[in-house]
């Protein structure tokens, strides 16, 4: 199957006064048509930046400085601003983490949904209202014509997230980017929203990039999973391999340190979760070699020196770990290696 979106060696660096922070420094993933890819990582892993980079929306002082983004055979980094605008919200749509911040507080729901339709589809106000109402009904909102006249502050968090989902679906996108779509919601509302997303993705033949830190959530939603740590891809595999045969030490650690609601801790004399020592690295001065090596139980001297390259271990399963046989690349000149590329490839929004 050909991939809908291929992200290869993506690099997003922050250009701050105190230096260059390579927040995303080699993230690879690919999304096939009609599948859900879970992009999993902790804070600072670069997962949100990677999803924003797909729409070329990384905020200054961050800029895309390397890698390639190919969508439906097109090089997204080579498109001009007008072509990119034609893509955003139409072919690739985004659902943001915080629905309260991603809706405009001074426009009615109908106005902000209609604006998108009238921009992309060039249709009349009345037609836009009808289409918006249809979408609200699709996401399970009763009395949509009334809701279209309301403002964001009049709606609950779950309702606002439904509106955001409806907004993302307005133009029948091929790909939805969902960045922690349920983090701020209560668990029973989260279940409603996840069911809705899954049902709509299936029914409307869309693909979805689901960005999350929650292993339980991606286990439920994703077909394949990419695990990222400190700006680099650790492991990509189908959901069963990730949960039943994880290879990267970080993937294993992430699973072991997650408490489980289906586990009997009462019968253990000394219940303890396996933990990852240390803390998430400071991305202004990331560790050399493999970025996980200071916290990795299996690290050797090689791991501190060589950057692991992704290696395919089985069809659809690739891992970047020297201890699993991945090839290592010596890093020359440390973190500033890629600065030469900045002039040639300035594709972010104007700084």
């Amino acid at each position: 199957m050909t991939d809908l979106l291929t992200v290869d060696g993506l690099k997003v660096h922050f250009f701050t006064q105190s230096g260059v922070a390579p927040a995303v420094d080699g993230i690879d993933f690919a999304i096939r048509p009609r599948e859900t890819l879970g992009l999993v990582g902790e804070s600072g892993s670069g997962k949100t930046m990677a999803s924003l980079a797909v729409l070329r929306l990384v905020p200054p002082p961050a800029r895309i400085v390397g890698g390639s983004l190919r969508f439906q055979g097109r090089d997204l980094l080579a498109l001009d601003a007008a072509a990119m605008r034609g893509l955003r919200g139409k072919t690739i749509a985004m659902i943001f983490q915080n629905p309260a911040f991603s809706l405009n507080p001074i426009l009615s729901i109908g106005d902000q949904l209609g604006e998108i339709l009238r921009w992309h589809e060039r249709i009349s106000r009345a037609a836009a209202r009808d289409r918006a109402a249809e979408l609200l009904r699709l996401v399970g909102i009763a009395d949509p014509l009334h809701r279209l006249r309301q403002f964001p502050h009049e709606l609950s968090g779950g309702m606002k997230q439904r509106i955001c989902i409806a907004r993302a679906l307005l133009c029948n996108p091929a790909l939805i980017l969902a960045d922690e779509p349920t983090t701020n919601l209560d668990v029973t509302i989260q279940a409603q929203i996840l069911d809705l997303l899954e049902e709509l993705r299936e029914r409307l033949h869309m693909a979805m990039l689901l960005v999350s830190h929650d292993m339980g959530l991606v286990a439920r939603m994703a077909h394949r999973i990419t695990v990222v740590y400190a700006g680099r891809t650790c492991e990509t595999a189908d959901v069963h391999s990730i949960f039943h045969a994880p290879l990267h030490p970080y993937t294993r650690a992430l699973l072991d340190s997650t408490p489980r609601v289906d586990h009997d801790y009462e019968h253990e004399a000394h219940p303890a979760l396996r933990t990852i020592g240390g803390r998430i690295p400071d991305l202004a001065a990331p560790p050399s070699g493999c970025r996980f090596h200071p916290r990795c139980p299996e690290a050797t001297a090689e791991c501190a020196r060589l950057r692991p390259e992704p290696m395919q271990v089985a069809p659809g399963h690739s891992v970047s770990c020297l201890q699993r046989g991945s090839p290592g690349v010596a890093e020359i000149g440390g973190r500033h290696t890629d600065v030469s590329a900045i002039g040639a490839l300035h594709v972010g929004p104007p700084a």
Binding site: E42, V187, T188, A191, H213, P259, R260, E266, I280
Partner: protein
């Protein structure tokens, strides 16, 4: 096991006021905590779970008089502490404050940014004077080591620490007065997975080592399963079910507990438990439905659920349940 803490008919109402020319008037009331009773045995960890707005934090704060309760009693080791906190007997207040400590949710807001960690940890000693000043520095160093930090960290400021380390400082501050009962209000919800596990392990280890009793407040049922012996489920200001953790997680009887448990995503792609997805959203606490508060969303509501609120009564297996038509 003897009860260390007993909460009886705790009630917390907030007036809803509308502003007017002559200072406004009260137009309604919100019952954040509505006649809540439960007990915590010595040495156990009781979890209070529920969704946002269900009153779990307000319950805990009213218990320690961090917000004044409208009515009700809180018994601690034979003493009614709410009247102590309201009274003027300062030695008695300090005694109660030492015994019952509260650890806050947000590690970024609960530490004074202009104080070093040492100054923050010295404050409980300065207030309670439970150790001679000559010992304070040694005690602070020992506390920091107890929670997995280094004595030298006492010279640093909160901004120099990560979220997990700040939460360790929060634990150290609560432990400084050698409490017997500790309220943990969402202590790990702002932390990353790998750091969260470290703090959860620390809390479990400290409870065993120091013989502490916990009230653990959380919406994260996986961490509750890890830490708690008993679980109380709240919905719109009332406890709907309270049971030993094993029983509650295996056989939830209340339909809300069942929906809550089945909504938690399990980190296993093959786990496909029969999920109950609740319709709608919780009603506004200003306009509570009559009868059982859950009847508007309950899949098994009977006609009587609309009129008669169910009482929280024993159901035989160490469980208390408030439901007319349990599973």
């Amino acid at each position: 096991m003897t009860n260390l803490v007993r909460v009886e008919h705790l009630l917390k109402r907030y007036p809803v006021r509308r502003r007017g020319i002559l200072g406004g008037r009260t137009v309604g009331q919100i019952s954040a905590v509505d006649d809540v009773s439960f007990s915590v045995a010595a040495g156990e960890a009781l979890a209070l779970v529920g969704e946002s707005g269900c009153g779990k934090t307000t319950t805990a704060r009213s218990m320690l008089h961090l917000v004044p309760a409208t009515s009700g009693q809180v018994w601690f080791d034979g003493t009614e502490v709410l009247s102590v906190f309201r009274g003027n007997d300062r030695p008695a207040v300090l005694r109660a404050r030492r015994a019952l400590q509260y650890m806050f949710q947000d590690p970024y807001l609960s530490l004074n940014p202009r104080w070093t960690i040492g100054q923050t940890l010295r404050e409980p000693f300065r207030v309670h004077r439970h150790a001679p000043p000559a010992e304070w520095n040694d005690r602070i160093a020992a506390l920091l080591e107890r929670v997995g930090l280094e004595p030298a960290h006492a010279w640093r400021y909160p901004h120099e620490f990560s979220g997990g380390q700040r939460q360790r400082v929060g634990v150290a501050r609560a432990l400084a007065v050698e409490p017997r009962f500790l309220v943990l209000d969402e202590p790990v919800s702002s932390l990353d997975v790998s750091v969260r596990a470290q703090i959860l392990n620390l809390l479990v280890e400290l409870r065993a080592a120091l013989g502490l009793t916990y009230l653990y407040i959380s919406h994260d049922l996986a961490s509750v399963r890890f830490i708690a012996n008993r679980v109380a489920v709240m919905y719109l200001g009332s406890i709907v079910e309270i049971a030993p953790a094993e029983i509650l997680f295996r056989y939830p009887l209340h339909h809300y507990t069942n929906a809550l448990l089945s909504a938690v995503p399990v980190p296993d792609p093959d786990a496909r438990p029969t999920r109950v997805v609740l319709r709608g959203e919780p009603p506004s606490p200003m306009h509570l439905p009559p009868g059982c508060r859950f009847h508007t969303r309950c899949p098994a509501a009977l006609p009587q659920c609309r009129t008669t609120p169910p009482a929280l009564v024993p159901s035989g297996d160490g469980r208390l349940l408030a439901c007319h038509n349990p599973r």
